[in-house]
Symmetry: C2
Subunit: 508 residues, 2 copies
């Protein structure tokens, strides 16, 4: 095995000198704290000041080969001096995407909230694990309170819940709970004794429904896609028919996964009418509100999720629209029978001793599928304390107002063609360059239009002026999806966005 | 629905004043950065200076009811002024466990590495998602390099891998990959068409093997427990027999999950001999080295994992012994056929567009089961750059030396009774208080001994002097498991540990 050992340096003298000095810890606190201090300054300057300044770039594009060389990523036997490491910190900051920049419209995360970020730094420094009250007393209680606050917005005065590493995991948890409720023996015996199970969702739902079906042994073929209306919303009539059809074919429907805020179009499935269908067929109703859930903070817009209180479970990612920072994903449950723990527990005696001196119900770790679980509640709690529900409501409302403005401006400009009226803060549109205008009927129009967005995207990234995503959807060729919600965005940034698309695409 | 809305305050005037000022972002950078600065100072003082000072407490125990009141956790409609929020930051720090404290011996995480912590702060501030090169150019390349470095230590010059949210998830990924390799149709069709599948592991393996079997639809009954030797190591002869028996009963064995560093005893399964059995039966060999993997850095101790290069997959958590900070869990694969992506991909067109202007193989996000994925590589990379492989080797070697010292001291003291000679850095022992010494044969001895550890634990937590875990195991009643590896620990802390156990338990 010796020849497999990749790193080597002469250690014999060092061993004699260091290893036997048992009384000296390996850590040099003053040097370490100095380094942390310097890193903090770099973060403040490069990431938070420059990284949010519209006069600075959103990204510093480099080809992967060049970036690999610039970063000198190789890991070696010997360490490096502090000044060199600080240069590395600067390089990482420099070549990373400035996702907090007001002109980063690329994903469903953007912007920065300083209170949340403070909570995240504190979380990292406290470095604990949310599994027992013993090692996380503050966070066990805090998570409970944050989940209660979120559940209250759903309309539930009681229930359960847990923070998960991402919305996909939340959706999979819901899938597992729905399956377990119907067939508790699945936990010990697996799926073999059971009839074929089926899940219902729309083709515009998040891909995690299919990934979850594959992972949980159910299979993607057993995810049945329900038709959507023109706006991308699940059709309850088709849901009812598909459920009946599945039953007639011998499968057992057990879960309807609806979406509040679809990934591309931002559509909200009609929850109230879907709840009627779920009640009729006695199915678990899960709402993937990872993206759209934050409308529940807004008195003006929460009607989009009318009926959510009739669901069994809701996945909601405050790391998206509320800017809590990645990752912050809550799974909320109406259940009051301790289903989460029954379904997931393994009763490890080394961690969840029953003879502890405090109430062992506070050891929440056996509710999760994983063991180590990051503390994701502090950042949301501190931000919520800082701005209140009113402040979070204001963010949501302002995002809608920005979108209304953006849509109005698009309608005034010749080259912008909306897919439809946005229901949420996703604005989907084609940019039609001058050379293509008025040629909608020509044979190669769709092919040529499909090539526009990728070229504009390449240009904006190479120039670093902004970032926005594009994609095809069904039979609709590549279109842009601009997401507007960052609290750092102003009307000027929206005007810039429109001008920049025109500037980058005018010659195409 | 209006009556369900939990938070309310008069918003009408505010709306007029704020919401329509589209040109003003909601974020006040200078106020926010000031808050972040003040929080950073609190972290430096309360968490990093006091929190690592042996003259300060490891924990400030409060009953949950009292702590709930102290923290004022309730979430309200209106926000709070900065000075009040800073007090909250202080309170969270004060009542949280100081897991970096040299006398926190409670879990498989402890200590602090300042370079890693700097990497974590930078990660949080950059707030991106490891799914595309587009939004995470630096981290896509960096993760690749870190995984290569870890694989090299396993003994593989090529392969694949991914960082997962915790070791349990890594183990479940391996389970899913092993299943998919054998039956690729499981992804689309689920388990129904397949024969019953069985997994083999030892009773001392981590509980995530059973949790994974339940979650993936295989069922905990289909996890077959292989006998262990006196040291808690899986017996290859029994493995071979159990596999044959399972086959004769009509099930299809598909995975052996071995452990390098069991959770309680720190045992290393004999990988080379297990590999022989796996090869004979053509089974996927997974090594859960979440805890023990770090011995691979040590020329002196890597023999404990001899044969690991014959495995198909290895789970390794640098957030444990290497002090990279929670969470940092790598799944390493020998596979070079892109199994990870084939098994997990959903090909979402909104994220993984195939007509991007760069090499889309850099968009690694479809290798994961989840969608959002935190950047967990930067902290490890920066720490590795800072101290080199040699520095990490030194940490591992020093931990073993500390353990040797601790064990020698225990043998010299009357009240300490080891379960056995430690193979790793877990030291398992009973503390026998004076009243129980020499009474090993009496009828209620085991019952009385079982009550010792919980009382000592309660006392140490209420006094805040240190933290160490205890548990029963099989027919062995409650014993302590002290974990020694933090780079902040010195011999003085080990002496303190022994004295403190005696002080707290002498009257029992």
């Amino acid at each position: 095995m010796a020849n497999m050992f990749p790193f080597s340096s002469d250690r014999q003298t060092k061993e004699a000198a260091n290893l036997h000095e048992l009384n000296e810890p390996l850590t040099d606190h003053s040097e370490g704290q100095l380094f942390l201090n310097e890193t903090f300054k770099i973060i403040m300057e490069e990431v938070l000041r420059k990284g949010t300044d519209v006069k600075e770039k959103v990204c510093e594009w480099k080809e992967p080969e060049e970036l690999t060389l610039l970063l000198d990523l190789e890991l070696r036997a010997t360490g490096e001096p502090q000044h060199k490491l600080l240069q590395r910190v600067k390089d990482v900051a420099k070549y990373s995407i400035k996702t907090s920049h007001p002109r980063f419209f690329n994903q469903q995360f953007a912007g920065v909230d300083y209170h949340s970020l403070a909570g995240r730094f504190l979380t990292e420094s406290l470095n604990t694990n949310l599994f027992t009250y013993e090692v996380a007393p503050v966070f066990v209680l805090m998570e409970t309170e944050v989940l209660r606050g979120l559940r209250q917005l759903v309309g539930w005065t009681e229930g359960d819940g847990i923070f998960c590493p991402g919305g996909s995991t939340s959706n999979m948890y819901a899938m597992n709970l729905a399956r377990y409720r119907l067939f508790p023996d699945v936990k010990s015996q697996g799926l073999w004794g059971l009839p074929r199970l089926t899940i219902f969702t729309s083709p515009e739902s998040h891909y995690s429904v299919k990934k979850g079906a594959a992972y949980l042994g159910i299979g993607t073929d057993n995810v049945i896609l329900v038709k959507v209306d023109d706006g991308g919303r699940m059709r309850p009539d088709d849901l009812d028919e598909k459920i009946k059809l599945a039953k007639s074919q011998g499968s057992v429907p057990f879960l309807v996964s609806c979406t509040s805020g679809t990934t591309v179009q931002g559509a909200f499935d009609p929850l109230d009418r879907i709840a009627d269908v779920c009640e009729k067929h006695e199915l678990w109703m899960h709402v993937d509100a990872a993206w759209g859930g934050s409308v529940l903070f807004s008195k003006q817009h929460r009607h989009l999720m009318k009926g959510v209180d009739r669901a069994n479970s809701v996945a909601w990612n405050p790391h998206k629209m509320l800017v809590a920072g990645l990752q912050c994903s809550a799974l909320l449950l109406k259940d009051t029978t301790n289903l989460l723990k029954q379904c997931h527990s393994a009763n490890a005696t080394y961690l969840f001793q029953q003879d502890k001196f405090y109430d062992v119900n506070l050891d929440v770790g056996d509710k999760s599928v994983q063991c180590s679980r990051k503390v994701d509640c502090l950042k949301l709690w501190l931000m919520w304390k800082a701005v209140g529900s009113d402040g979070l409501e204001e963010r949501v409302d302002k995002a809608f107002i920005h979108v209304r403005y953006l849509v109005e401006q698009m309608k005034k400009r010749e080259g912008f063609h909306l897919l439809g009226e946005p229901e949420f803060v996703n604005v989907c549109f084609w940019y039609i360059p001058p050379s293509l205008r008025g040629k909608e009927g020509t044979a190669d129009y769709q092919d040529r239009l499909a090539k526009v967005a990728p070229v504009i995207k390449e240009r904006m990234m190479k120039q670093g002026t902004m970032m926005v995503g594009y994609q095809p959807l069904g039979n609709r060729v590549n279109f842009f999806r601009v997401i507007v919600f960052s609290p750092l965005v102003s009307q000027r940034d929206l005007d810039f966005f429109l001008n920049e698309i025109e500037r980058l695409g005018n010659d195409l």
